[in-house]
């Protein structure tokens, strides 16, 4: 905590950072460093951790059982991100074109599920997807299928749950850039003879790119760790990195290995945020608050 210049510190208000510094160092920095240390220690025979340096935790990640889990997680996260972008982009974009009253109402409507307990929303999907549940009844009633689809505890159910849980992040990110968009640029392009599609592809997409990237980051990162969605809607059939870490900590009690997994996940996450910052030159993620 070196002090660069006393001049600016004439103000006494800067003392306000002290609690933040203390909390951050003790309860954020400390745990993360401990995780890094743990990941290089060995697991004790019976209980706890032995202070013996090893790289075996990292090597273990590349065993096919665990490595496949990582790859499966990545696939699901990418698929989730792609779908939320496809569904969320038009939503955020159209939302920004509404009247100011319409925007306010829409904003409220998007934020309520975002604030609502994710478990409750997942539970709603269970009722819908359950064998002989609402969806089955609807489809059978319409004569589209003649027997229950058994959607609950399947990959599509997990995917729907993930997209559903994370969609508000994408919408808010897209909306916040679209709202600031200078429409006159789009109009100018149209006046100069560009078709709607051309103007959209060359101007709008480019101008909303920071929002797209921010949304991608905000959706992709949590989707790697949301173990409870795979648990509840996948019925334990789907092992994601999140589930793996959870099991290693709570069931197997192999903390060093869980730490190594977390470190890898953390590196992946930081890399994504770093790339985001390099590309957009923005420090805070668009539409986060």
């Amino acid at each position: 905590m070196t002090i660069k210049s006393r001049k600016k510190n004439k103000s006494n208000l800067w003392y306000g950072v002290i609690p933040l510094y203390l909390f951050t160092l003790t309860f954020v920095c400390g745990p993360l460093i401990y995780m890094l240390v743990l990941s290089f220690l060995s697991r004790a025979e019976v209980w706890g951790v032995e202070k013996v340096f090893t790289l075996s935790n990292y090597i273990k990640i590349f065993e096919p059982v665990y490595f496949n889990t990582f790859i499966e997680s990545l696939k699901l996260a990418l698929l989730t991100t792609a779908i939320t972008l496809l569904v969320g982009y038009p939503f955020g974009y159209f939302m920004a074109k509404l009247s100011s009253r319409g925007k306010k109402v829409m904003m409220l409507l998007v934020i309520v599920p975002f604030w609502t307990n994710a478990l409750i929303r997942m539970y709603g999907w269970i009722i819908i997807f359950r064998s002989n549940g609402l969806l089955d009844k609807l489809l059978m009633g319409l004569g589209l299928t003649d027997k229950p689809l058994k959607l609950l505890y399947s990959f599509p159910a997990v995917l729907v749950g993930m997209v559903y849980a994370l969609l508000p992040f994408m919408i808010l990110a897209i909306y916040s850039v679209s709202e600031k968009l200078d429409w006159s640029l789009v109009e100018a392009a149209r006046d100069l003879g560009a078709t709607r599609l051309q103007a959209f592809l060359t101007i709008t997409i480019k101008l909303t790119l920071p929002g797209i990237l921010s949304g991608v980051v905000l959706v992709f990162i949590p989707s790697m760790g949301l173990f409870f969605i795979a648990d509840i809607l996948g019925g334990g059939k789907f092992m994601l990195v999140g589930n793996l870490i959870r099991d290693q900590v709570i069931t197997t009690r192999n903390w060093p290995f869980a730490s190594a997994l977390s470190v890898l996940l953390m590196i992946l996450t930081s890399l994504i945020i770093w790339i985001y910052r390099r590309v957009t030159h923005v420090k805070d993620l668009e539409g986060l608050v």
């Binding site: 208000l13 306000g16 998007v110 599920p113 549940g133």
Partner: protein, 260 residues
């Protein structure tokens, strides 16, 4: 031309309906007299009655509320002071600390839960309310911090300067001018933090004690082991709380700071 303007609205409406469908289903079934969720047995309040007579659920609700109030309160103080201080401080470590302090809402929750569990047992903290409040505060602080920081950036500097020129002390300026201007951001940040605390299951599962249950943990274990329709009623009650919070936050947050 008319069709073009209608299509976006249809899309928006369709997606909103889809977003609210699972929530609506939960609410509807909380009034279902039948025990099976696939059968509609008529309208009834019986699950609500059962809910309020379930001691362990009420206990979990109480815990969740205490944790929510404490952690968002801590976040309100640390986050606000931090944001105000950061704006004034000329510390080299500012950037890095700011980055680390917002990590809890950037990294996947599972990492945070896992490291907290290991770290708290290293520090020999008693698992339960204490660990839950600290853990929740860690992801509540960034919400308040970021909101206050954004609001501070939008404040008209000349107001502060004018007051200083007229001889007000720095503390007085802060209390009389800056604080009232940033208070909507503080309150809506704290409300968001409170909602996130009430919502959290991933981190809580790792850092809770053997005898401490929060509402989301309770819902999660029930969803995994077998659901009684009581859970519908419980979820509906929680939804109601959330709705009140959102409306409140929206109402308070709408008051924009005077700029011109």
């Amino acid at each position: 031309m008319k069709n073009r303007t209608k299509l976006p609205n249809i899309y928006l409406a369709f997606l909103i309906i889809l977003m609210y469908l699972p929530v609506a289903v939960v609410i509807a079934y909380s009034f279902n007299a039948s025990r099976q969720s696939s059968v509609w047995g008529g309208f009834s309040f019986s699950w609500y009655k059962e809910l309020f007579s379930d001691r362990s659920l009420i206990e979990a609700l109480k815990n969740s509320l205490i944790i929510g109030v404490l952690s968002s309160g801590i976040a309100g103080v640390i986050g606000t002071l931090g944001a105000v201080g950061m704006a004034k401080a000329a510390l080299k470590s500012k950037g890095i600390i700011e980055y680390i302090s917002t990590l809890p809402i950037m990294i996947p929750e599972i990492i945070l839960g896992m490291v907290f569990m290991a770290y708290f047992s290293l520090m020999k903290l008693p698992f339960g309310m204490v660990t839950l409040v600290i853990g929740h505060a860690s992801f509540c602080i960034p919400y308040v911090f970021m909101m206050v920081k954004a609001r501070l950036a939008g404040i008209d500097k000349s107001l502060v300067e004018a007051a200083r020129d007229l001889g007000a002390s720095e503390t007085k300026v802060f209390l009389d001018i800056t604080l009232p201007l940033i208070s909507p951001a503080i309150i809506s940040g704290m409300l968001l933090a409170f909602a996130m605390s009430l919502d959290d299951v991933v981190i809580s599962i790792f850092i809770t004690g053997p005898r401490t249950n929060t509402l989301p943990i309770k819902i999660y274990t029930q969803l995994k082991t077998g659901v009684t329709p009581k859970i519908n009623a419980l979820c509906t009650m929680m939804l109601l709380c959330t709705l009140v919070l959102v409306v409140l936050a929206n109402f308070i947050g709408r008051k924009k700071p005077v700029k011109d």
